[in-house]
């Protein structure tokens, strides 16, 4: 009776999840891959060759990545300080911040997108504020621009950046920072050598969450920028729904999937490169 061969019945607990994923995710994924890699009944990469040889498709890939990267970076820039504030806050203040982050998640994406349509208009509150602050000479429109899309998308996705970072920061012993201070480390040094490396696992999870959602978002670009700005997700949707071109739709979906997976895997390598210590 070796330890290696002993079967732990606890492992059975994973069966429902595996069965569900195989049914709801595995089978459709297999069908999708089969459609993309089989042309006229023969295995072929010709649909990918056609896709990548069209300059327009590179524009679409560029749009998709640019927006996803921008959304992720802005979410990180806003989300990290928020997560720190949330982790340091006590009692009622902490509860208030937490509610402010979590409650908006219960509002549907479509509702938020429609709200941004009002806020980002030429006579909307953002434009008026910027004019009042003399940052803009005349009222301008943010709606149906890339900037507007990033603003709207960050609003939808930023909780998914804050929450993982917060859950990691919460576990970090605050005395580590104090210890570094007693040893004479400057605040900047303490942040980059102590606080940041310790919070990296949360940052990585947040980036993976936000990026994979932003790269494949469909409703938000549809409502905030319209039909003139194609991303891989909107191109996939219209290929299936309107052009009835399943070959193109599965090809773009596979490209999108590859981009999302590459980013998640790549971001997991981040802590090793970045902190080295963790």
């Amino acid at each position: 009776m070796t330890a290696r061969l002993r079967f732990d019945p606890v492992a059975l607990l994973i069966v429902p999840a595996v069965a569900y994923l195989a049914f709801a995710y595995g089978i459709p994924l297999f069908v999708l891959l089969a459609r993309a890699f089989v042309v006229d009944g023969v295995p072929s990469v010709s649909s990918f060759v056609r896709f990548f040889s069209d300059p327009f498709d590179w524009l679409v890939i560029g749009n998709t990545l640019r927006i996803a990267v921008a959304v992720t970076l802005v979410s990180l820039a806003i989300g990290y300080p928020t997560a720190v504030a949330l982790a340091r806050a006590k009692g009622a203040a902490q509860a208030a911040i937490l509610v402010a982050i979590i409650l908006p998640l219960s509002v549907g994406v479509v509702v938020k997108a429609f709200a941004w349509q009002i806020v980002l208009r030429r006579d909307g509150v953002v434009s008026q504020t910027l004019v009042a602050l003399h940052l803009w000479d005349t009222p301008q429109r943010l709606l149906f621009t890339e900037t507007g899309l990033v603003i709207g998308a960050v609003n939808v996705f930023v909780p998914f950046m804050i929450l993982p970072i917060y859950s990691v920061l919460k576990l970090v012993d605050p005395r580590l920072d104090e210890a570094a201070a007693t040893l004479g480390a400057t605040p900047l040094y303490r942040f980059f050598r102590v606080a940041l490396p310790l919070s990296l696992p949360g940052i990585v999870t947040g980036i993976a969450f936000v990026f994979s959602m932003a790269v494949s978002m469909y409703v938000v670009p549809n409502l905030l920028i319209g039909d003139r700005f194609q991303t891989l997700a909107t191109l996939t949707g219209r290929s299936f729904l309107f052009m009835r071109n399943e070959q193109l739709g599965s090809t773009t979906a596979v490209v999108l999937l590859a981009l999302a997976v590459a980013t998640v895997v790549g971001s997991a390598a981040l802590p090793r490169r970045f902190g080295g210590a963790s």
């Binding site: 327009f56 429609f114 208009r121 549809n222 194609q230 219209r238």
Partner: protein, 349 residues
């Protein structure tokens, strides 16, 4: 108008329906076969006026029962495909692009003047593919504008291109059926005839490229576009559907719809008899009634559409000499995907 369009079942209708159902269950099968029942498939949005105006009139005249199944055109097509050889629906009311698919699948029975005398009374352009289907009504495409942002109504399709409306124009995506005629309108502005503009879209697309600075957005969701127009973020939507724009106007929105001087485009509302339809005679009679002047006179108002029966006058506001362009939908169906990809490339931000 509102009571007309809400389509709530009245007590009498309910009683009638339950009496009919009870009769159907109680009767022996031989009698049941004689209970004439006609199933019509159509758009969910049509249900109110079909059930308020068409059904009562038809049931009374022909002593039968009409069941209207309201759904989407593509769902109707699916139903017809699945029940091929054993159809339970007799008549379909669908958009022309979907009719073309149904013809290709061999699902429709041609309409002939012998069975549908009113075929001779409608405009020839409303009969398609040698009588495979006909248009009973046609919503029309003009320019919708915000009355506060634009005190003088637009007169021509060319006004969409006027540089003073920079960033203020909304157009439909080519994914939406009402978007496609924009290419033809641009072709007309470039000096083409409608026939030429449909055959060779090059001039149309070149003209459209000059619309880019004026575009606020290209919509796929109609309500979103009208929201922008009603709140004056957009000044004009073109092409805009009469059936939608005028309904919004009637609901009190500060917008109106005009027919540009070059002419308007007729949108499709088709009706056809399904091949192998139960109650075939009744099915043709139903089509005949919808193509007749009596029903079309009653329907043109509530549906904000043009009648196709020549005896029915144009709705108020449309000049008698205004050109109404009929689109070759078979050509559109064949070219649509090419046009969409060209549009994507040339109109992208």
């Amino acid at each position: 108008m509102t009571t007309l369009l809400t389509g709530r079942p009245t007590r009498r209708n309910l009683l009638k329906a339950s009496a009919a159902a009870a009769g159907l269950l109680a009767a022996p099968s031989i009698v049941r076969a004689q209970t004439k029942e006609l199933v019509v498939g159509g758009a969910a949005g049509h249900k109110p006026w079909v059930e308020q105006i068409v059904v009562p009139m038809f049931e009374k005249k022909y002593g039968c029962k009409v069941i209207f199944e309201g759904t989407r055109s593509l769902v109707n097509l699916e139903k017809m495909q699945k029940n091929k050889g054993a159809q339970y629906m007799s008549v379909v009311q669908m958009d022309d692009p979907v009719m073309i698919l149904a013809v290709k699948e061999g699902l429709l029975e041609p309409i002939t003047p012998a069975k549908v005398p009113n075929m001779a009374e409608i405009t020839p352009a409303a009969v398609h593919m040698d009588g495979m289907w006909a248009n009973y009504l046609q919503p029309w495409l003009g320019i919708a504008y915000n009355k506060t942002a634009m005190p003088t109504p637009p007169k021509s399709w060319a006004e969409l291109f006027d540089p003073k409306y920079k960033g203020r124009i909304v157009v439909p995506s080519l994914q939406n059926t009402e978007g496609l005629p924009l290419i033809f309108a641009a072709g007309l502005l470039a000096g083409q005839s409608l026939e030429a503009a449909q055959k060779d879209v090059d001039a149309g697309f070149k003209k459209l490229a000059t619309l880019k600075p004026n575009l606020l957005t290209i919509y796929t969701q109609q309500p979103q576009a009208y929201n922008l127009l009603e709140q004056a973020e957009a000044t004009m939507i073109g092409p805009a559907m009469s059936s939608y724009a005028l309904e919004r106007k009637a609901a009190g929105a500060p917008i109106d719809l005009v027919a540009p001087s070059e002419g308007v485009f007729a949108m499709p509302s088709g009706i056809a008899v399904i091949k192998g339809a139960p109650q075939s005679d009744l099915a043709f009679a139903y089509v005949n009634e919808l193509l007749g002047a009596e029903l079309q006179t009653k329907l043109a108002g509530p549906t904000y559409s043009l009648a196709t029966n020549k005896a029915v006058p144009r709705p108020a506001g449309l000049a008698p000499d205004l050109k109404i362009y009929q689109i070759d939908w078979a050509n559109v169906a064949a070219e649509r995907n090419n046009w969409i990809s060209r549009w994507d490339r040339e109109m992208a931000l």
